[in-house]
């Protein structure tokens, strides 16, 4: 069954902006996760585990009041059944959200870089996974976990796809972030060496760090090849490490992964969405070298006008609306900022109206302010 006219218009609006063209209107794309459940009064646990129709009902209530052109998804990002079976409760889902118990940050010693570089998948499968999950270390028990894991993964994918279909078909809101991956430097930071280890490696083992990133890029890209055969939407990547690096180190050790991934995605007919955490002004001259026409950078902090002017026509820029202002500001102050976004960031296209941060907790924003600015942009953002 074909999608509705309004669905197609919204998707086209988003696609045009990402391609750095001028759409009919400025697209509105706030990233809303568990905040939706608090707003709608639905249980996060039931929403993620019991019935996908609860996820649909949650977002129906949100989108009744908050205008969006496209959606990030439902925030149900973890195969909880599978993780529960393997992970001994590392992730706990409750009605307060999805929480992580303890830290699994440093799972690799610096002396193991040569093994990681030689064969990343083999090293992760045979060394890191058993080390990280006690249940996977005992070979007699592991096979049962892997068998259940496969079923849990399929069940989670089908559950989410059911919710996505309901949201897309009934609410006419395209879900554009169906797939995500991490860049190799962030995998090293978040999942292998932790912050202290990765920061030390950048200074003391830069060559090994660089070679590991090069070796891991095909694995990061394979995540998308395996999960996104139909090339839907845009591939989401949160960037964690860059703003803790000196620009010189960023250019040498991080940017090759960012650019390499963008090139691979574009060459395969996909598009890249980088969530650029913190302030990217020191790196702006470097990211000008990203490939054109299919990269969307959502910026958290810094001078959005400077980002837009520098990247105009090359990279689509998103952001501009601080969550802090939506939480603490008056309606007039919020609308003034929305107007500033239209006046300063929208001209020339290649701009998506977005919040600087994801909405997770109940008090992240004043809902009335969020509703006011999203409707304001939609009605006044006509090109």
């Amino acid at each position: 069954m074909p999608h509705s006219k309004i669905y197609n218009e919204r998707l086209q609006r988003f696609n045009d902006a990402v391609a750095c063209k001028t759409p009919d209107r400025v697209p509105v794309f706030p990233i809303i996760e568990q905040w939706a459940n608090f707003y709608a009064g639905t249980s996060i646990r039931d929403s993620y585990l019991k019935d996908p129709r609860i996820e649909y009902e949650t977002f129906r209530k949100v989108y009744d009041d908050i205008y969006v052109d496209v959606s990030y998804g439902t925030g149900n990002l973890i195969p909880l059944d599978m993780m529960d079976d393997f992970g001994e409760g590392i992730y706990v889902v409750s009605d307060k959200g999805v929480q992580i118990k303890g830290s699994q940050g440093c799972t690799m010693e610096p002396e193991e870089y040569p093994q990681l570089i030689a064969d990343p998948e083999k090293f992760v499968l045979e060394t890191i996974v058993p080390r990280k999950y006690a249940s996977a270390a005992d070979s007699s028990a592991a096979i049962s976990h892997w068998g259940k894991g496969a079923l849990g993964l399929v069940r989670w994918k089908l559950y989410e796809e059911t919710a996505f279909q309901l949201i897309e078909r009934k609410l006419n809101v395209p879900i554009v972030c169906r797939n995500a991956t991490f860049l190799p430097p962030d995998i090293i930071l978040d999942f292998l060496r932790d912050f202290a280890g990765a920061s030390s490696d950048v200074r003391r083992r830069p060559q090994e760090f660089k070679e590991a990133c090069e070796a891991m890029l095909p694995m990061s890209f394979r995540v998308i090849q395996e999960t996104d055969p139909f090339k839907q939407g845009i591939v989401f990547m949160p960037l964690h490490f860059p703003t803790y690096l000196r620009p010189k180190d960023f250019e040498e050790l991080y940017f090759p992964s960012m650019k390499g991934m963008a090139e691979k995605l574009l060459a395969s007919g996909r598009r890249a969405m980088f969530y650029c955490e913190n302030n990217w002004e020191p790196y702006l001259d470097i990211i000008k070298d990203l490939p054109s026409g299919g990269v969307y950078c959502l910026f958290e902090h810094g001078d959005l006008k400077k980002y837009k002017d520098t990247l105009q026509g090359k990279v689509c820029v998103g952001g501009g609306m601080p969550v802090d202002l939506l939480k603490n500001g008056t309606r007039e102050e919020c609308l003034d900022r929305a107007k500033w976004c239209l006046d300063e960031l929208a001209p020339g296209g290649g701009y998506i109206f977005a919040l600087d941060m994801n909405l997770l907790s109940p008090n992240d924003v004043n809902p009335e302010n969020l509703a006011a600015v999203t409707h304001y942009i939609h009605y006044n953002g006509k090109y």
């Binding site: 973890i78 195969p79 599978m82 993780m83 393997f86 992970g87 590392i90 992730y91 699994q104 998948e121 992760v124 499968l125 045979e126 060394t127 890191i128 996974v129 058993p130 080390r131 990280k132 999950y133 996977a136 270390a137 005992d138 070979s139 592991a142 096979i143 892997w146 068998g147 894991g149 496969a150 993964l153 991490f182 995998i187 978040d190 999942f191 694995m219 394979r222 995540v223 395996e226 999960t227």
Partner: protein, 36 residues
């Protein structure tokens, strides 16, 4: 404890599936376990 051959074990567990599907399952579970 480490360096046991999970790939070989999974091949036995999922012997009835085509190889490309076994590889895919192994990769996807591995990556979920890594990226959490």
């Amino acid at each position: 404890m480490e360096n046991y051959n999970i790939a070989e074990m999974l091949d036995k567990k999922f012997f009835f599936l085509p190889k490309f599907l076994r590889d895919k399952i192994r990769f996807l579970i591995m990556i979920e376990l890594l990226l959490r």
